[in-house]
């Protein structure tokens, strides 16, 4: 069959959501207030970030804790093109796994930085955009030098 014989039609499928974050909603409410909200398990003491209302390790209930917003990079990959909605901050962008002080888990987040030596062990702290819709609307900067640090 030649290309001219193939019938093609353009179809647009768009789904919109009003997405519930359920029991993890306090994490997102916390981001609105520039806080990182985790949870400490009443059974084993594990600190989850983002919070989990019930511990996935021992199934005990967990209570909310607010973490400091400071931590360290476990690993990071640099992104050659800056992330569009963070471009106004200047600097380079990376996606990193960050372990916050006091947490037993890590999160994935953007890091905006100036220094070229972003690496494992770099100390970072959280910054928040004025409007928070998802986890891409907060980011980390190196504690010692970086965009908006």
């Amino acid at each position: 069959m030649s290309m001219s014989e193939i019938f093609e039609a353009e179809i647009e499928d768009v789904y919109r959501y009003r997405l519930s974050y359920g029991g993890q909603s306090p994490y997102f409410r916390g981001l609105q207030e520039k806080q990182l909200v985790g949870s400490r398990c009443n059974g084993c003491g594990r600190v989850w970030l983002p919070l989990r209302p019930i511990c996935s390790k021992c199934y005990a209930d967990a209570q909310q804790v607010v973490l400091s917003g400071k931590g360290e990079i476990l690993t990071a990959i640099t992104l050659p093109d800056s992330v569009q909605h963070l471009k106004h901050l200047g600097g380079n962008a990376a996606t990193a796994l960050v372990r916050l002080d006091g947490a037993d888990t890590c999160i994935k987040a953007f890091v905006v930085y100036l220094s070229p030596d972003l690496k494992k062990g770099t100390r970072v702290e959280a910054r928040f955009l004025p409007e928070i819709k998802n986890i891409g609307d907060f980011y980390f900067v190196p504690v010692d030098g970086g965009a908006n640090s």
Partner: protein, 399 residues
């Protein structure tokens, strides 16, 4: 009782099959596998569909197997739809094996097709950008997609973490994998991207994220594949040279979020391969296997897999490629087909296709990609899913 593979249906990988729907691709490979086994559709008891979860976005269908079952002439037979991201194909073969070992069926067709390039980006006037956006749905849409602007970045994390932990591999060592796999694909008539690359070609290709460049990445393709599995007795009736499934192992574990003690390892692949090896009685893969096909999502991932599959210690994968161990002429060829980097890949059927390639090698029918078969055993190991969290390993043998 054991399970044999008695029929293989493969078609070339392509960027796009404009002239075929995914139904038609599935029919083509089904017909081809039945012909290879010299049986008819009536001989098939059960169908295992290896269709990726991503088909929902690619072809706008949540339950594609319902249409496909009729289209390939298998209406009325029992079936199951297996989905596990890039690990779907291998998991579907494992499911077919379970179906037969349970005694529920004597002959099972394992089949999948994948088509992603019907997606369309009217703003950029391109298909590829729309496809790359769609495969982001492989990641967690709440906790990963908002902070990962690129599909490859998710896999690049694993490689960068490995480098952070072990100080290797180097970007040059990763480039050697790309040269090897694109080069192997040159001899494979089913391959989409056989290329005679140099290390400089790879090193100078466009940087994607972290240490990863364009030629470090696997392809995105359209394709289909089918296998006929049979119980031991039926396999011996159907053909003289069944290839036996000697072991199968699977694992699903996040190697980082929220646990990060395994950061830099592919724990799922270590677990799946150990389970498969135990079932097959393999304790020294370097001595007991003829070759390996593994999921080279990125060149660095292939080098990480060398350790998880028991060829070396973690962090030593780069040394193996430097020493030529995994070249097609080396002591343990890895991805003689060209792998996902040189041959092609679409989440879903690609594992079925790669197992088909292993079967052809063990039968001595691999043409230009044929490696020496002395021990009569080889493996296919799939990895995939967000954060490379899923794996399935299949051990295949001649006796």
């Amino acid at each position: 009782m054991k399970v044999g593979i008695v029929g293989v249906g493969l078609i070339p990988w392509r960027v796009r099959y404009s002239e075929k729907t995914y139904y038609e691709l599935a029919l083509d490979v089904t017909k081809s596998a039945l012909e290879d086994a010299r049986i008819s559709a009536d001989d098939v008891d059960h169908v295992v569909w290896g269709l990726s979860d991503l088909m929902v976005a690619w072809v706008r269908q949540c339950c594609p197997s319902t249409t496909l079952q009729d289209y390939i002439g298998m209406a009325g037979k029992s079936s199951v739809h297996v989905t596990a991201g890039a690990v779907t194909g291998a998991t579907a073969v494992r499911q077919g094996m379970i179906e037969i070992l349970s005694g529920m069926s004597d002959v099972a067709l394992v089949v999948g097709s994948g088509k992603g390039m019907d997606l369309w980006d009217p703003v950029l006037n391109k298909r590829s950008s729309a496809f790359l956006k769609a495969i982001m749905l492989d990641l967690d849409t709440n906790w990963e997609v908002p902070v990962e602007p690129l599909a490859a970045a998710n896999f690049a994390f694993a490689v960068q973490a490995h480098i952070d932990r072990y100080g290797a591999p180097t970007e040059t060592q990763m480039a050697k994998v790309s040269v090897k796999n694109h080069g192997n694909a040159l001899a494979n008539p089913l391959a989409q991207s056989g290329l005679a690359l140099t290390i400089d070609d790879v090193m100078n290709s466009r940087r994607i994220a972290g240490p990863i460049k364009m030629f470090d990445c696997c392809l995105y393709s359209e394709g289909a594949a089918a296998l006929i599995l049979a119980s031991e007795d039926r396999a011996r009736e159907i053909c003289d040279n069944p290839i036996w499934i000697e072991g199968a192992g699977s694992s699903n574990v996040r190697s980082y979020m929220p646990d990060f003690e395994h950061l830099g390892r592919l724990l799922c692949q270590q677990q799946s391969s150990q389970r498969a090896y135990k079932m097959a009685g393999i304790n020294n893969p370097l001595e007991q296997l003829d070759f390996i096909e593994t999921h080279d999502l990125l060149t660095g991932v292939e080098l990480m897999s060398y350790a998880e599959l028991g060829l070396c210690e973690p962090g030593q994968g780069g040394r193996l490629i430097d020493e030529g161990v995994t070249e097609r002429t080396g002591r343990m060829p890895v991805n003689p087909s060209g792998g996902m980097i040189g041959c092609g890949h679409v989440a879903g059927c690609s594992g079925i296709s790669r197992i088909g390639e292993v079967v052809q090698q063990l039968r001595g029918r691999a043409g230009g990609t044929q490696v020496p078969i002395n021990k009569g055993r080889a493996i296919f190991s799939a990895v995939g899913g967000p954060g490379i969290s899923q794996s399935c390993t299949i051990v295949l043998g001649k006796s």
